[in-house]
């Protein structure tokens, strides 16, 4: 079977418009989460990680675009543009495009949006990105709740192994919208302070927005220094409840076990876990149970939600990219917002940037619909 690699990557976020800047800011403990007062987004002030609109406009203008684009389209195009150019990959019929998003241009459903509501169709979003760059294959849009970002990597890998494509560009993105904020608030899931994953004082999530992108390659020739190999991945449903995670962490447990099996690794091989850590009571508790069932309670772990908030369909991809850089720099980054363990099972939460030789990391995510995914990545240049 072909090996697959994650290579060129980019992050457009509230703490930087390229991966190196974002990673540097994480190292320095800078969070993009701020208090926002905008009645068009939510009736009361709320904490979220939002990209500066002027900065986004200016960066996008530099591409000299023709036509009108939505906020998310601008973010996604900016994110992909850099890696398509840097990789020099020609967009032939051997190159796929996967978009990972939960809600796409959902803001266009708002009557105040200047864009037509047809823009809310995710297939339309796919075609706008496709046509901007001139991809020659039909875009694949994945909308699988909060696991979409990692599942997109699995899907790219499988299409490559199956021979459908040689290379796949993935872009994951979601925006902070009144749609999402009102919904999570109705679930009483929003935190009234910057989120505190795994902490005793945690009280829910913050929403965030990013567009993250990566080139998935079967070719070992076109790799960047921070490239990783996708060793194993799996997705398993909890078969328990459509919104609440399984109390035993069944789906996550099975996902990790199955990813380990394919990767041919065990808990002792994992140097670092980039976990989901949304900072809701139930999610973080469930993760602590699933991880301990697998003997992973002592492996250094962080959640990056304290920097970006929960970026929904992009989060798994975003956090995988940060994980790639973590391995490359041999540095574990702080799980921001954490002070005191607030889950029932032990976890080794990273509380300060730590230099350590890192070769393998595990990325996990869980989401509505009972879905869970796990993937194991290995540093290419060690």
């Amino acid at each position: 079977m072909n090996k697959t690699y994650l290579s060129y990557n980019n992050i457009v976020s509230s703490i930087g418009f390229d991966s190196p800047t974002v990673v540097k800011n994480i190292h320095e403990g800078l969070s993009g989460i701020t208090l926002i007062e905008d009645e068009n987004l939510f009736p009361n002030p709320f904490y979220a990680s939002v990209i500066d609109s002027d900065y986004l406009e200016k960066a996008f203008e530099k591409l000299h675009p023709n036509g009108d684009y939505t906020r998310l389209e601008k973010m996604m195009i900016l994110s992909l543009d850099k890696i398509i150019k840097a990789s020099g990959v020609e967009l032939t019929d051997r190159v796929g495009l996967i978009l990972s998003t939960t809600k796409g241009n959902i803001d266009t459903l708002d009557p105040r949006s200047p864009m037509p509501t047809e823009r809310a169709y995710l297939g339309t979003l796919g075609h706008i990105v496709k046509n901007y760059f001139g991809f020659t294959t039909e875009p694949i849009v994945l909308s699988n709740a909060c696991v979409s970002g990692i599942l997109a990597i699995s899907i790219a890998k499988r299409f490559i192994c199956q021979g459908t494509f040689d290379q796949v560009f993935i872009v994951g993105g979601d925006i902070v919208s009144n749609f999402i904020l009102s919904g999570f608030n109705s679930f009483q899931a929003m935190s009234s302070q910057p989120c505190k994953p795994y902490c005793k004082q945690r009280s829910g999530i913050n929403i965030g927005e990013v567009a993250a992108s990566v080139l998935v390659n079967k070719d070992q020739n076109n790799l960047v220094p921070e490239a990783v190999e996708v060793l194993g991945e799996a997705s398993c449903n909890d078969a328990n409840h459509i919104s609440g995670p399984s109390r035993t962490g069944e789906g996550l447990y099975r996902s990790i076990l199955s990813a380990f099996k394919e990767a041919n690794v065990g808990p002792q091989d994992i140097d670092y876990i980039s976990a989901h850590g949304t900072a809701t009571n139930f999610n973080d508790e469930m993760e602590s149970i699933a991880l301990n069932r697998l003997g992973l309670g002592t492996v250094p772990l962080n959640s990056l939600k304290g920097y970006f908030g929960h970026t929904l369909g992009a989060s798994g991809l975003l956090e995988t990219i940060v994980g790639m850089h973590s391995l490359y720099h041999n540095t574990l980054y702080t799980s921001k917002g954490f002070t005191e363990l607030g889950v029932s099972q032990p976890l080794n939460i990273i509380t300060a940037p730590t230099v350590k030789n890192l070769n393998y990391f595990l990325k996990t995510a869980s989401g509505f619909g009972g879905c869970n995914t796990a993937a194991v990545f290995k540093k290419v240049q060690s």
Partner: protein
């Protein structure tokens, strides 16, 4: 009070889409969650919205809801005491 209880039963059946349950099948002291009507966590959140929308009662702590939604009897008493509309 019995009018309010009747009203609550009707609302719970229609808003929570309890298709196969009739009003007279819900006793005032039946538990609404668990083995009783079998409501779940989303139903509890939906009842919190109903309290706000129809009776002007704002609950911010879902745990508070757990006690109030124990049965129709408990719910009706709570609403009668705290309603603002």
């Amino acid at each position: 009070m019995s009018d309010l209880k009747q009203e609550l039963k009707e609302k719970i059946i229609t808003q929570l889409n309890l298709e196969d349950i009739a009003i007279d099948e819900i006793a005032d002291n039946d538990s609404l969650f668990g083995d009783g009507l079998g409501l779940d966590s989303i139903d509890a959140l939906e009842l919190i919205v109903m309290l706000d929308k129809d009776y002007g009662i704002k609950l911010t702590d879902p745990k508070e809801g757990k006690k109030i939604f124990e049965s129709i009897e408990v719910m009706a008493n709570y609403i009668a005491q705290h309603r603002t509309k």
